[in-house]
């Protein structure tokens, strides 16, 4: 076994320190330029509710990219998971009043008003909500497992494998819903995405828990170490006795489970699910993971770095909202940032080497 102690990622790497500075700078600029809007209660609240779903997706992408791969299917597998969850939720809570066929067409379309149907309450409802959350996580986990199978066992390059399954998951979601939205979830389910506990948004709590869990998973468990090792150098990992294929399977499974959590947060915040929701998150997820210091070749990066990446991106995004940039112009900026940050990230180690050599 290699000396894993030196390979262990530090809590705050010098690179993360750069991101803390970047975060403070972006925050200060926005707070000084538009204090009344940026620091307003509604803006901060909006950020606090929108950030978690994207944040968990970015963590999912991070895990895949640490192993030297990528998961392009995350947005559509989250759609598929959300649809499955919504179907279970609605058919159980409005049982009898809504048949499966009309569910598939979207219950509103059939003229059934869910308000007229009393959903079960108390412990039964809690059970139903928990079950539908589990369904989302399980479906996304299965999607991830399929990705893992294709990457690890069939040995398809991750880009192509997940490009294929992305289309597949999109197609399955379309076949199930015919492209129409599913809406009108019972209130207790909506709490997950839009409720607050002691003024703290519930989704934010979920995000923080996920971030801690992923951080502990990557830093303290053997599997976490192995993901770094496989990402750093697959050949070396194999020769040091690691079973690369099993590790990669589990990597994509973890990615899938996180996608399931993100799916629940997303659909419970907007109270509906439709194929194509969160499509723009894909590019942004790759962007924040790279922004957070994860190497495009895998093997290095910390959760803390990615969290700062997420915070910076969300702040800039809300800055765009205030200035009133169009979505198209935002795409120009995200694209430029992706290229620029990759260039800088690639240049920094080379520059450091040169400085060291001079010394």
């Amino acid at each position: 076994m290699p000396d894993l102690k030196t390979a262990r990622p530090r809590l705050v790497s010098p690179r993360s320190a750069t991101y803390i500075i970047a975060f403070v700078v972006v925050f200060a600029v926005l707070a000084i330029l538009q204090p009344s809007k940026f620091l307003s209660r509604t803006n901060i609240q909006q950020m606090a509710f929108q950030l978690p779903e994207f944040g968990v997706l970015a963590l999912a992408m991070m895990v895949a990219m640490l192993s030297g791969g990528i998961d392009l299917s995350i947005t559509f597998s989250s759609n598929l998971a959300g649809i499955a969850s919504a179907l279970v939720l609605l058919s159980l809570s409005y049982g009898g009043a809504v048949d499966f066929q009309s569910l598939l067409k979207g219950i509103m379309a059939e003229g059934v008003s869910p308000a007229a149907v009393t959903a079960p309450t108390g412990i039964v409802m809690l059970g139903i909500v928990l079950l539908s959350v589990l369904v989302a996580v399980a479906v996304a986990g299965l999607c991830g497992l399929l990705n893992g199978l294709l990457v690890a066992k069939v040995k398809i390059p991750p880009i192509l494998a997940t490009l294929g399954t992305m289309k597949l998951y999109e197609g399955l979601s379309l076949v199930i819903t015919r492209g129409s939205p599913i809406t009108s979830f019972p209130k207790p389910y909506l709490f997950i995405g839009s409720g607050s506990v002691l003024h703290v948004p519930f989704p934010l709590i979920v995000f923080v828990l996920c971030a801690i869990a992923v951080s502990v998973f990557l830093r303290k468990t053997p599997l976490g170490f192995s993901i770094y090792a496989v990402g750093e150098n697959p050949t070396a990992a194999r020769f040091s006795g690691l079973r690369n294929d099993r590790i990669l399977m589990k990597t994509y499974l973890v990615t899938g489970l996180l996608v399931g959590v993100a799916a629940v947060l997303m659909i419970s915040r907007v109270d509906s699910v439709k194929v194509g929701y969160g499509n723009s998150y894909l590019l942004q997820a790759v962007l924040v993971v790279i922004l957070g210091g994860v190497s495009t070749r895998g093997g290095s990066g910390t959760v803390l770095g990615v969290i700062f990446g997420i915070l910076i991106l969300r702040m800039i995004s809300s800055g765009f909202n205030i200035i009133g940039f169009s979505n198209h112009f935002r795409n120009v900026i995200w694209g430029s940032m992706l290229v620029l940050v990759t260039i800088v990230n690639n240049a920094v180690p080379a520059l450091a080497d040169r400085l060291k050599a001079r010394r």
Partner: protein, 331 residues
């Protein structure tokens, strides 16, 4: 030689394509008719042109996700400028391909100068190009294009009229695509540049040491895929007779699926032009048969997804086999 062809990926694809056609024809009698086949050939010509460009990129070991954005931008700018004065079709092709090549050179510059992964670069430039166009253009779609676009798409190299009055023939759009394919094949097979592209895909370090000018080859590759995207975009205008900013944007996956189906691998160094064309036709044949068998169009992505997964899996398996074969030889 003959035996080598029988074992090649192209032969297997051809066999599957023929087998599939016969099977579909047994269910729906209208598949294997001259009308339907020439129609598939015509409608697949846009994807064919793009696929040849993407194949060359993948042959060199890269990937391009920005070509639909490049096609959309060059299509819009070219048609917009041509509307200002009395243009003609060759000018449209020339302008679109130059714009495409120019945008491709941006990709080439970033990839070569900063040595960042091709996927990240083209993922970024795709949203830069497309976003910039949508930001700068006041009206991003053009619904009335000059008549010469439409006229070109109704011309045939040869044609005959059926008793019902419908004209069946070999479309100029398809002819153009086949000419491009033939030129690309000649380039890859008989020029030093072509050998350089194969060498770069096989092993960049070895190619460099063998004396190939990597900078020049990479610039050529990304300009070439941009140029072909520009040509394909004008073919598209000829076929659908309008310019729309989003219609081409979902094409990355389908085109990459076709190229991979045709035998190219992400690792580079493998695949042929013929295989790529067979891959494109395979996808169109499957799509067309879904329509003929009255399967709803929302099944389309499922089928395309399955094709990508299946073809990449077969490629991965073949590579695994080749590795063990060489290991046996080396032992």
């Amino acid at each position: 030689m003959k035996r080598a062809f029988l074992r090649s990926h192209e032969f297997v694809l051809l066999a599957i394509l023929i087998g599939f056609s016969v099977l579909v024809n047994a269910i729906s009698k209208s598949f294997l008719t001259a009308e339907n086949l020439f129609d598939i050939l015509k409608s697949s010509s846009i994807m064919g042109t793009m696929a040849i460009g993407v194949f060359v990129v993948m042959l060199s070991g890269g990937i391009d996700l920005s070509f639909p954005a490049i096609a959309t931008v060059s299509m819009y700018v070219a048609v917009r400028v041509l509307l200002l004065f009395d243009g003609n079709l060759p000018l449209a092709f020339l302008m679109a391909s130059l714009i495409g090549a120019a945008l491709g050179s941006v990709n080439a510059f970033l990839i070569h100068r900063f040595k960042i992964p091709t996927m990240i670069v083209t993922l970024g430039t795709a949203s830069i190009f497309h976003g910039a166009m949508l930001t700068l253009a006041d009206v991003p779609h053009i619904y009335s294009v000059p008549a010469y676009f439409f006229e070109f798409s109704t011309k045939y190299i040869f044609s005959w009229t059926k008793s019902g009055g419908t004209t069946i023939g070999f479309s100029t759009l398809a002819f153009l695509m086949l000419v491009i394919a033939a030129l690309t094949w000649l380039l890859l097979r008989f020029t030093m540049l072509g050998k350089g592209i194969y060498a770069l895909g096989g092993n960049p370090e070895a190619a460099k040491r063998a004396g190939f000018n990597i900078t020049r080859i990479q610039f050529f590759i990304y300009c070439f895929v941009g140029l072909l995207s520009g040509i394909a975009s004008i073919q598209y205008v000829c076929l659908v007779r309008h310019v729309h900013p989003f219609n081409l944007m979902g094409l990355q996956l389908d085109v990459i699926a076709a190229v991979v189906l045709g035998g190219a691998s992400l690792a580079g160094g493998s695949g042929t032009v013929l295989g790529t064309l067979l891959g494109v036709w395979m996808i169109y044949a499957i799509r067309n048969s879904l329509v003929l068998m009255r399967i709803p169009s929302y099944w389309d992505p499922v089928v395309i997804g399955l094709i990508i997964v299946a073809s990449t899996a077969i490629n991965a398996y073949r590579q695994q086999l080749r590795k063990t074969e060489t290991r046996v030889i080396n032992a």
